[in-house]
Amino acid sequence: MAEELWRRRDFDAHRSWLAVDPNSRQGREARRRLSRADQRYREGVRRLERGEPGARDALLEGVAIAPMDPALYLPLARACRARGLEVRAEDYYKKFLRLRPDHPQAPAARLELGALDPELQGIFEPEPSQTPAPAVPIRPPPSVSLVPAFAAGAIAFAAAVALFARLFRRGLPLARLAAESPELQPSIAYLVSSVRHELLKHRIGAIGDAVRALGKGEATAEQRAFLAARLYGGEPLVLAWRGHVRAFERALGPRLDLRRADRGFREAGRAIGRIAALERALAAGDARAAERLAWAHRKLLELDADLAALATRLVRTTVDEVLLEEVVREVRSEYAAGRVELDALVIGPVAPGVSVEVFRFDLVLVLKNVVRNAILAVGRSAPPRRIALDVGVELEPTGEEAVRVRVRDTSTEALTTEAIYERRVDRGLGLVTAALTRYDGAIEVEAGSQGWAKGVTVRLFRALQSSSGVAS
């Protein structure tokens, strides 16, 4: 049966293979083949991610041996997306989400799928009452009559402990989740912007004058009417707030705990509740209600200020030594790039205080590809094997500034700008062009000088914001 599912290319065949009794000869054989196939699949995915040749062959070798672990559908989807194979990426995202709806990466996968095709947004959200598809084979329960009483008690106790642990386990506040999961940063920025502009600004920030006037007992009838309309007109504030909180939770997954772990959201939730409860007292002109409103208003403005600072941190990336060191460290931790023995890898000079409006996750991805390519290229060339990274700023005749991140190397391998853009470079560099286009950036190969064979320069406009906040 398991073999038959696989032959029919059923994408859930992996589960059937695992379900075969591991103590049987077939079960042992199934596991051995799964393990062999897994190595080939992972190799294929790795090659696809890096744009290295042989990805297809490795994947086909895996296919010939045994079905793929559904967990690999996600890296496969991401690699396809990065290479512009969006249709295939979409397919793999869907498979991943169908088979692993509770995987820690599932929320990110949903967002990425939604970004590929907005019409698919929400389709793969797990329903609250829905039982997720089991990731391990389901075995028929033993007959109840055969379960000794003490075992039933132990199971009940374990379930209670698990429930207790789940109830009291705290997730992460928003800022920490953003710091720990760079891949979620674009989504976090979007959600933060939504709650700020749709709720905090238009319903809370806008009533500042009226709240102050009310506190002093000087509010005009017009100000009272305006305040009542913003706070109690239209969608109830409590529901609007819950809607935003749920949007965060749905999009960012169970690691986020806005209600308990995030102080700003927790206090803002209390403030919203307090405002909702004040409607009658405010209408009656109760002075204490005005004081309470002022407290709640202040709490919500504090959250707004914190979110504004978070959003700025997320969308802007400082191009400094820390970033370059992170890029180098990550690339050197990879198998192939880590094995190249370098005579020198120099970071600097780095122009101080330079930032670009690119999500850090994307910028690291771009620079990792450039650095990896340089390291692998010098590894294939004769010594000396040297790499240097530096950051400069070029003043444009328009008064704008271009940030130039340059990676120089001593490899004698030919590389041209055209080859990168035409994706004739099968080394991952072609992948960066799509990312750079999103940010009005460019990549260029420059002739080497002073002992360097060549330099690959990534150019992005420096982040400069107008006084009104509208990018010029």
Partner: protein
Amino acid sequence: MRRLLVIEDGSEYSDFARLYLADEFEVTTARSASEALRMLAAESADAFLFDLRFDRAEPGTLVGDVDATARRLFGGDRGRALRYLQDQQGALILAELRSAGHAQPAVFVHDFPERRLANLRQLYGSVAAVASFDARAIGALLSR
């Protein structure tokens, strides 16, 4: 009366200047760098009022090399490079005028970031900007 040279691709700036700045300035209009240079060669001006975006101008009249811009800043994408040159044309025309020795005060109606305005001053001397068509503020800057 002092002379104001308006440099724009339409007539919004000059109509505005003729209505609200007519007490202080005699207004003339140039629609490209080359036309501005021709007019300045014939008769000088006391100040410049610049539009920044020239999206109605013929591409052939724009200052800037589309291919070089495409290669350096936009990965060879000529379409994006052309849009960039259109969007930033006022600043590029100012560069041309300064190169030709015309150092008069220049004013843009644009919400420039502070740092960018400082850069423009570093490159081109007397440059100021206001975020909207505020006649009083523009008049004061042109008269500095």
